[in-house]
């Protein structure tokens, strides 16, 4: 399998239905590399569904997602090798140690030296001293840090993050913000779903405000996120 590459992400008129329930309705946006796009909205707005569609875990009912010139249907595994996702669930095995978890996923993503990749990731996350402890014994914040490293262990072009600040203390939050900025500088496309507007403030290049599965508004270089959010959500109620 030859990993493919892409320089932008385009969502074209994507809808997703679960039976009669419409989770996403005609969503469109585009974001280039070297950018952070925020999916903002209240619970049930469709943020996680949108991320699942972008991650190729879910097919849109209509519309298309283009990764550069590629589509999920045509490119499959090669495309997945360039996507990293940190979901609301952390995708970690609680019985395995932090090192075993990271080495397992590094191996799945084709790393030649999974253990070395895991050790480097543990250094980055500041958890090297807990490398051989089972993840079950970690606090939520520590698990979140391991999960972030799992999502990034293969150097993805597209990074999808669902509520990544959950459970992090101030120091870990600051480290994550710095990490996201570093990802942007390293040409990644970061899509971040959150309703923590204070933490997203100043971080986003584009904010897509979602409500009831629809785009309420797309704002480039947003500032004063909280008041913008309130204004937009009030308007669309």
């Amino acid at each position: 399998m030859i990993p493919l590459d892409f320089e932008d992400l385009t969502v074209e008129d994507v809808s997703r239905h679960f039976g009669r329930r419409r989770a996403l309705s005609r969503i469109s946006f585009q974001t280039p590399k070297r950018s952070i796009l925020g999916l903002l909205g209240p619970n049930g707005a469709g943020k996680s569904t949108m991320l699942a569609v972008l991650a190729t875990l879910m097919r849109p009912s209509s519309g298309a997602v283009r990764y550069g010139t590629h589509t999920a249907g045509a490119s499959g595994a090669a495309l997945r090798s360039r996507i990293g996702i940190l979901g609301h669930d952390l995708f970690l095995y609680p019985e395995l140690t932090a090192r075993e978890n990271l080495a397992f996923f590094a191996g799945l993503y084709g790393a030649q030296k999974p253990r070395a990749a895991a050790d480097a990731a543990l250094q980055r996350s500041g958890l090297a001293d807990r490398a051989d402890d089972p993840v079950a014994s970690f606090s939520r914040g520590m698990r979140q840090r391991v999960a972030l490293e799992r999502a990034l262990i293969h150097g993805p072009r597209l990074v999808l993050l669902d509520e990544p600040f959950t459970g992090l203390d101030d120091a870990s939050t600051a480290a994550l913000v710095a990490r996201l900025q570093a990802l942007r500088e390293s040409d990644a496309i970061v899509v971040l779903a959150t309703h923590d507007l204070d933490l997203a403030e100043g971080l986003l290049d584009t904010a897509v405000f979602l409500r009831d599965g629809r785009i309420a508004e797309t704002v480039a270089r947003p500032d004063a996120l909280r008041s913008t959010y309130r204004t937009i959500m009030r308007r669309t109620t």
Binding site: R80, G87, L90, E95
Partner: protein, 224 residues
């Protein structure tokens, strides 16, 4: 594909060695099953003819169903199934890794069950170890192949615990029957090896069909 299957197998075995959750429940259930039948059927040291063959396969099938139910359930609980499916590895390789893990676990259970059944039912199960091994391995692969696929298919279903045996047993009836008949043939005073060979060949043929179908259908079943 081999590397991915090996990684998944190694991970599953490591998790199992740490928790022993599936091994304990499977063994406890299978051994209880054998004991109940032994107390019910063995009178004055005499067991019904071919009873040992049937009891052995019932214990494997019932214990195996418990193990199959847990193998993907564990991935569902920690939502790691999504992470596995997100990996750029061929999805059938994930299935193969899971299947090998279940087969390894059931073989380990059989290593304990066979001497137990042989002892309690006074059955010469170990008189042809090679052929018994061939029967058990080919039968276990057939049973686990279908079971692993259904377990994956039902992972999101609310009533998966009920649906798994309902779907699994009708499809694996030919495997269980062939396994019982082959094992019974090995218990005869004059073992007719041609007959054993026939049943083993049938089991291998069923394995080939089931494995092919499972590899073919796993990816579409797991998408969405």
């Amino acid at each position: 594909m081999i590397r991915t299957a090996w990684l998944v197998l190694k991970k599953d075995l490591t998790v199992e060695v740490r928790s022993l959750e599936i091994a304990y429940t499977t063994l406890f259930f299978a051994v209880s099953c054998v004991l109940f039948f032994a107390f019910a059927l063995v009178k004055e040291g005499k067991a019904p003819e071919d009873g040992a063959a049937g009891i052995l396969w019932i214990a494997i099938a019932f214990g195996g169903t418990l193990a199959l139910g847990r193998t993907f359930e564990r991935e569902r609980q920690s939502e790691t199934l999504r992470a596995l499916l997100m990996a750029p590895a061929a999805r059938p390789a994930i299935y193969v890794g899971k299947l090998l893990g279940i087969v390894a676990l059931l073989v380990a259970a059989e290593i304990i069950l066979v001497p137990l059944v042989a002892f309690l039912f006074q059955a010469p199960l170990l008189s042809h170890p090679f052929w018994l091994g061939a029967v058990l391995l080919s039968g276990t692969i057939g049973f686990a192949t279908v079971g692993t696929l259904f377990s994956a298919m039902l992972v999101r279903a609310r009533s998966r615990d009920v649906l798994l045996p309902v779907l699994l047993y009708p499809i694996t009836v030919p495997v269980i029957i062939a396994g019982v008949r082959a094992t019974a043939a090995l218990l005869q005073p004059d073992v007719e090896l041609a007959l054993v060979r026939f049943w083993v060949a049938l089991l291998v043929a069923l394995d080939v069909v089931f494995v092919t179908l499972a590899l073919w259908t796993f990816e579409p079943l797991m998408t969405d």
